[in-house]
């Protein structure tokens, strides 16, 4: 087991390095965008004097390198600074939105992961049947439509006049869990439709790949029923690729859902990122980008650890 711990430690160290590189890249990319915070926030109303006054006040007239290291100095001590736009601490600005984003991602994952695993196993079992084709075709159809289109269709069917679910998912006040689940149902369902195909088809492919192996042949020759063959014998050996594809989709659910947020008016990190990039609000852009990068690093690490654990040959390595 000890080599797993050392792998985790090593990967976390590499992850920190990745985050540092990401922060440099994001900073440079924000600098490369035309216009700075002062110009963007004033928009059509900008005059040279007010632009200069804002730059003076926020220290934007400092050289680029100085500003980066000022930010980095704070960041390594856990202080991500204040938003340039409304001077609120970045941590406070991100806090509730991060919670909302994670809630929606977990909600969608809680529906999508079991659903796609179950469907994947079933279509592997009944491969090449009508059921297999229908399931595949529907999943591919859902993933092929743009997210906003899927969202509008769901609103049309399930919200609208006298609908079952609200079309606005805005969480106001302090809703209890049931209310939150109810309000966020349509966005979660939209995301489920978008990510299911990938995971389902990977599960199917990974299982079918193994079905030609001698040990599966053996199990079948012993007269085991097909379901048992797949779940008990094929699935454990197919877990590694499935876990990896689930990790990638979970990361996507955290980082890539801005369109769904906009359509359902759900206050998550995506919209915050878009607004902050549009106004060149560097401290917020950096913090959100680091959260997104960390999500990828950690989920990939988790996937690798789980893949290792699922494979006795890797745990009991000599």
């Amino acid at each position: 087991m000890s080599h797993i711990w050392s792998m985790i430690a090593q990967r976390l160290a590499l992850g920190l390095l990745t985050l540092f590189i990401v922060s440099v890249l994001i900073f440079l990319a924000t600098e490369l965008l035309p216009g700075d915070f002062a110009e963007e926030i004033l928009g059509q109303s900008a005059t040279p004097e007010t632009v200069a006054a804002i730059r003076r006040e926020l220290g934007l007239d400092q050289p680029m390198v100085t500003r980066y290291f000022q930010w980095l100095g704070g960041a390594v001590q856990g202080d991500f600074g204040n938003s340039l736009a409304n001077r609120r601490p970045v941590a406070e600005l991100i806090g509730t939105r991060l919670g909302n984003t994670l809630f929606l991602a977990l909600y969608a994952a809680a529906i999508a992961v079991p659903l796609s695993l179950a469907l994947g196993i079933l279509v592997a079992l009944f491969r090449n049947s009508a059921f297999d084709r229908i399931a595949n075709a529907s999943a591919l159809t859902a993933i092929s439509f743009p997210e906003f289109f899927v969202a509008y269709i769901l609103i049309l069917w399930f919200a609208g006049a006298g609908g079952y679910f609200p079309s606005l998912s805005t969480l106001r006040g302090d809703p209890d869990l049931l209310e939150k689940l109810y309000r966020a149902f349509l966005p979660a369902l939209t995301l489920t439709l978008v990510v299911t195909a990938h995971m389902m088809r990977m599960t199917r492919a990974a299982i079918i790949n193994l079905l030609a192996s001698p040990y599966i042949e053996m199990a079948r020759l012993k007269g085991m029923n097909p379901m048992r063959v797949i779940v008990k014998h094929a699935l454990p050996n197919a877990l590694a690729p499935i876990i990896n594809v689930i990790a990638i989709n979970l990361a996507y659910l955290i980082t890539g859902v801005v369109v769904v947020e906009v359509v359902f008016v759900y206050p998550g990190l995506g919209q915050l990122m878009v607004d902050s990039v549009a106004s060149r609000d560097m401290p917020v852009v950096q913090a959100v980008a680091l959260i997104f990068a960390a999500a990828y690093v950690l989920l990939n690490l988790l996937a690798d650890v789980l893949s290792t654990l699922s494979n006795p040959r890797l745990i009991h390595r000599r």
């Binding site: 109303s45 900008a46 606005l168 006040g173 906009v262 359509v263």
Partner: protein
């Protein structure tokens, strides 16, 4: 000409009367107008509004207010010295009365006494000075700095505030109704831009930038016949389809902007009222008058005659607007020139002006982005089509929305712009047409125009002013360097549950942004 065509074309197949009334300034309204207006205002209810703007980067600093969310919040939460009434006239708000010296340089405002802040305390003359000073001075980061720049001195005398301007301005009290110039409590001559305190009709209870705000009625509000709702909610819904859906499914009572492509569908839904108001909002295509070929007025005129305004209003605005005449003054303004000939699409005349400029044909690029106004790129494409038959090859260059105002507008020679307009002629002209004004987007400089502008500003004689503003509109229209093809209506929608006054404001969206104060539940 324009007014009569608007009125005769008023009730069209969509059953909505569009356009402003010829006199007065305010506009008129959906088919239900007359019936609903008779009801007496009733107290109570929570007004929920879906707002088309709202960003996580907004703030409570009045100097940064710039979108429909911050501005609507501003008038819902604050009071100002003066108010532009629904009919376009100026009425007192926190300033009970005012008077000017004969040269309109020195203004004395008497501040209403006993006006309460939400968190206690009353409005003082010192608060007024601090609130306006927030936008003035060397270190001001306020977008409103240019409009308060003419103030050279302010002092308090009891409840009077005496303002001295650098030059006379007969319209100065109008300036004080601007959304940036909210009156806020002050300590030691400075306002606190993080405080939630204010003195307007509703007080902030919840606020999450980019998401929404909830306000409750301010019980001590001094206007006893206004602010009928118990609470008001502003919900930022940026997506047009989501906004429309929220209204139809009853999650909001009012939406501030309707997608013009689907407005006919909304009209068909039961219990929905679409409201179109034409005021001073206009879309334009400024040309850099210093740069060839636009430095030649004949080239500018050729382009003005090569654009098919009627087609653009019908296509881009889906009919919700009126044609513009290349000057920024709308029918709702006091001194709107009714005698000016309306420019129309005339390829022969365009060709004639090209010849006058010594050209057989013209090749120009126009740089457009939707950031300027919705439909800007399509406007360019239509323009290119109609201009082709006049021998003008207009090349439409699509620019990114991001950074449009800092990298394209006023940087490249032929672009698109929008203005919500201003309540007075002087304000509009001084902002975007005066020589050397920071937002003179066409870099236009006309000696006669600038003389008239300065002469009309302090003039207290109405007839003389009218004459001067008429001539200035003529000058901008015939010699100016901005094509203004259309005045765009504010198109809003609300459910049957809401009732509103007969006349609603045309100076901004949302009944002059004062919907929370003026409307009620039927």
């Amino acid at each position: 000409m324009r007014n009569s065509s608007l009125i005769s074309g008023g009730v069209n197949r969509r059953g909505v009367l569009k356009g402003a009334s010829a006199l007065g300034g305010a506009a008129l309204l959906g088919p239900m107008g007359a019936k609903m207006a008779r009801a007496q205002p009733m107290r109570g209810g929570t007004l929920r509004m879906g707002i088309s703007h709202g960003s996580t980067t907004d703030s409570l600093d009045p100097g940064t207010w710039e979108n429909d969310f911050t501005n609507l919040l501003a008038y819902t939460r604050n009071n100002y010295l003066t108010e532009v009434a629904a009919d376009g006239t100026l009425v007192p708000e926190l300033a009970e009365s005012w008077e000017a010296s004969a040269d309109a340089v020195t203004w004395t405002f008497t501040i209403r006494s006993g006006v309460q802040y939400h968190q206690g305390g009353t409005v003082t003359a010192e608060d007024v000075i601090a609130s306006i000073n927030h936008h003035r001075g060397e270190d001001s980061t306020s977008a409103a700095k240019p409009i308060v720049d003419p103030i050279v001195d302010m002092r308090a005398d009891g409840m009077n505030v005496i303002v001295t301007l650098s030059e006379g301005n007969a319209d100065f009290p109008f300036v004080l109704s601007d959304y940036h110039l909210a009156i806020l409590p002050s300590v030691d001559g400075a306002i606190d831009i993080t405080s939630w305190d204010a003195c307007g009709p509703y007080m902030l209870e919840e606020l999450e930038w980019g998401v929404g705000a909830r306000l409750t009625r301010h019980d001590g509000y001094w206007k006893t016949d206004r602010a009928h709702f118990d609470a008001v909610e502003l919900i930022a819904i940026l997506d047009a389809a989501a906004r429309q859906n929220a209204l139809i499914s009853g999650e909001v009572d009012f939406i501030d902007s309707v997608d013009l492509n689907t407005v006919h569908l909304l009209q068909r839904a039961p219990g929905m009222n679409v409201l179109a108001v034409t005021g001073t909002q206009h879309y334009g295509l400024p040309m850099d008058s210093r740069a060839a070929p636009f430095s030649d007025n004949h080239v500018r005129l050729a382009l003005k005659y090569a654009i098919d305004r009627e087609q653009i209003v019908e296509t881009i605005l889906n009919g919700y607007g009126s044609v513009g005449n290349d000057h920024p003054i709308g029918p709702s303004n006091r001194y709107y020139n009714t005698e000016l000939e309306q420019k129309a699409y005339d390829p022969d005349r365009a060709r004639f002006h090209l010849q006058q400029a010594g050209l057989d044909s013209l090749d120009v690029d126009i740089h457009l982005a939707e950031a300027a106004f919705a439909g800007a790129v399509d406007t360019g494409v239509l323009f290119a089509e109609s201009a082709a038959s006049a021998g003008i090859n207009l090349n439409v260059v699509r620019e990114p929305n991001d950074g449009y105002w800092s990298n394209v507008w006023m940087q490249l020679p032929f672009v698109a712009t929008y203005w919500s307009g201003r309540p007075t002629e002087d304000w509009m002209f001084s902002t975007a047409y005066a020589d050397g004004a920071p937002w003179n987007e066409s870099y236009w400089s006309n000696e006669r125009f600038n003389e008239l502008l300065v002469a009309a500003r302090p003039e207290l004689n109405e007839d003389l002013r009218r004459e001067m503003y008429f001539e200035m509109q003529q000058l901008v229209s015939d010699q100016g360097s901005t094509i203004i093809p259309m005045f765009a209506s504010f198109v809003m929608a609300h459910s049957d549950a809401l009732a509103r006054p007969d006349v609603i404001g045309a100076n901004w969206r949302d009944d002059g942004l004062r919907i929370a104060e003026r409307w009620w539940f039927a």
